[in-house]
């Protein structure tokens, strides 16, 4: 059992792997190798405790399980068909530190359409007093209407509210995934009640804090330089006025800002810029179009 210490951290990764999009061909062995290398790099270099992967299929489960087991991780298969829809998620977690529940899949149906809201997992950490409740989402593409997208935010918020009712203090909740919406979209602001305003969130504990607002756009750089740089998490080469979107985010309950067991480490919570991978996003020959994101919390 690992001992508690002030510098003890928990690190989470979300990555839309693009390996198994809804309508697409299976990945080639070379593409699968790239994905495995990305996950291995993240695990090895970031002391990561839980990795949630999106757009994977049953075909990739065995390969990721073998890789995970070899590095002291267990794999939970979240790939499941739900009615007309399908969840395409895998969860890798460090077995020495975490116990993770089987995922509960949440869908909302309106008329004949079904939308994936999230999968919820409950994470117990060795030495911690409370579990962390994590909602992993991969929302439908932006071809759906604004009303439908706001509905996704509402239904996700319903589940956040249900957890609030179970606790006397603010529960530990992390929401992460590919929302196909950006931090300023109404689904995440008006419906999910997430904010960029850390100080306001500390005053209004029902709000959720979204540290990924700061990654709207590239980091400061020299305009004269020609190097390619990350400017979000999703890259669309044919974009008219922008090729970058910030669709992948991690959002935190305010217990991670004050008064909880863990504090959000914003300096380490970021879009992951992985050598030999990030520049692939700019190649038309590649299937990869999402950068991974990392969230880190530190024990108080």
């Amino acid at each position: 059992m690992e001992s508690k210490s002030a510098n003890e951290t928990l690190a989470f990764v979300w990555w839309n792997t693009s390996l198994a999009p809804t309508r697409g061909t299976p990945p080639t062995p070379a593409q699968l190798d790239v994905a495995l290398q990305v996950v291995s790099t993240l695990i090895a270099s970031g002391n990561i405790d839980l990795v949630a992967l999106g757009e994977v299929s049953e075909s990739e489960v065995a390969v990721f399980r073998a890789m995970a087991n070899a590095q002291g991780y267990d794999l939970i298969n979240g790939c499941t068909a739900v009615g007309k829809s399908r969840f395409d998620t895998l969860f890798l977690h460090k077995t020495s530190r975490l116990t993770v529940s089987a995922p509960v899949s949440i869908v909302t149906e309106k008329g004949q359409r079904m939308f994936r809201v999230a999968q919820r997992i409950d994470v117990s950490i060795v030495g911690a007093k409370r579990p962390i409740h994590i909602f992993v989402s991969h929302w439908s593409s932006r071809l759906s209407t604004d009303a439908d997208r706001e509905l996704l935010g509402m239904r996700l918020r319903d589940h956040v509210d249900n957890l609030f009712k179970l606790y006397t203090a603010t529960p530990d909740i992390i929401l992460l995934g590919d929302y196909n919406d950006e931090p300023f979209d109404k689904s995440l602001t008006d419906r999910l009640l997430s904010t960029r305003d850390r100080n306001l969130a500390k005053l209004k504990s029902h709000l959720l804090y979204n540290p990924f607002w700061r990654y709207l756009g590239a980091a400061c750089g020299d305009p004269k330089e020609q190097y390619w740089t990350l400017g979000g998490t999703y890259y669309h080469q044919s974009g008219d006025n922008t090729r970058w979107r910030l669709f992948d985010q991690m959002i935190f309950s305010t217990s991670f800002l004050a008064d909880g067991e863990w504090l959000l480490d914003e300096s380490l919570t970021k879009v992951a810029d992985i050598p030999d991978y990030s520049t692939r996003l700019d190649r038309r020959s590649e299937i990869f179009d999402h950068a991974p994101i990392i969230g880190v919390v530190r024990r108080v």
Binding site: N77, G83, S105, V107, E109, K110, G111, Q112
Partner: protein, 161 residues
């Protein structure tokens, strides 16, 4: 000056809509039961039940059971009084009627309207585990189970990898 008349009218209208929604949900369940009755000669029906788990302490259970109640959709055989009942899913309705939620086997369906509810119930009936339970209910008499004391059984949730 606040328009209390307008607020009152809005409240009345909201209550009317909510009642219509609740009646619509009941009509969907009735349609399911009508179909089941036709197909099973009246041997299978679904109903909503509020379940309060027992603590095991007779006094506490009688006076004030602190455990939260659950609302479920269960299947029973109306022709086999005292026969087994099977919990098919957890059930909840918003005070406004919709959304209503069906949770089973680590999956939650949030139904925003009548069509969605119908789809979710179809999905439930098409589940092989549910089909097996309903089949067993149809054939209670064949298996000589009609005189059994009523028992509430719940399917084991699907094991995830």
């Amino acid at each position: 000056m606040a328009d209390f008349s307008l607020s009152f009218k809005k409240g009345i209208e909201a209550a009317r809509i909510a009642e219509n929604n609740r009646q619509e949900i009941r009509s969907v369940l009735k349609a399911v039961n009508d179909a089941l009755s036709l197909e099973t000669e009246g041997k299978v029906a679904l109903r909503i039940q509020v379940i309060r788990p027992k603590t095991g302490n007779i006094v506490i259970d009688f006076l004030q059971n602190p455990l939260p109640s659950r609302t479920i959709l269960e299947a029973h055989n109306p022709q086999a009084l005292g026969g087994p009942v099977w919990e098919l899913c957890e059930w909840s309705e918003d005070p406004n009627g919709y959304p209503c939620k069906i949770q089973r086997d680590r999956t939650e369906f949030v139904c925003e309207d009548k069509e969605a509810l119908e789809s979710a119930l179809q999905n439930l009936l098409e589940d092989p585990g549910v089909g097996r339970r309903l089949y067993n209910l149809m054939h209670i008499e064949d298996k000589g189970q009609g005189s059994q004391e009523s028992s509430r059984a719940q399917e084991r949730p699907a094991v995830n990898e």
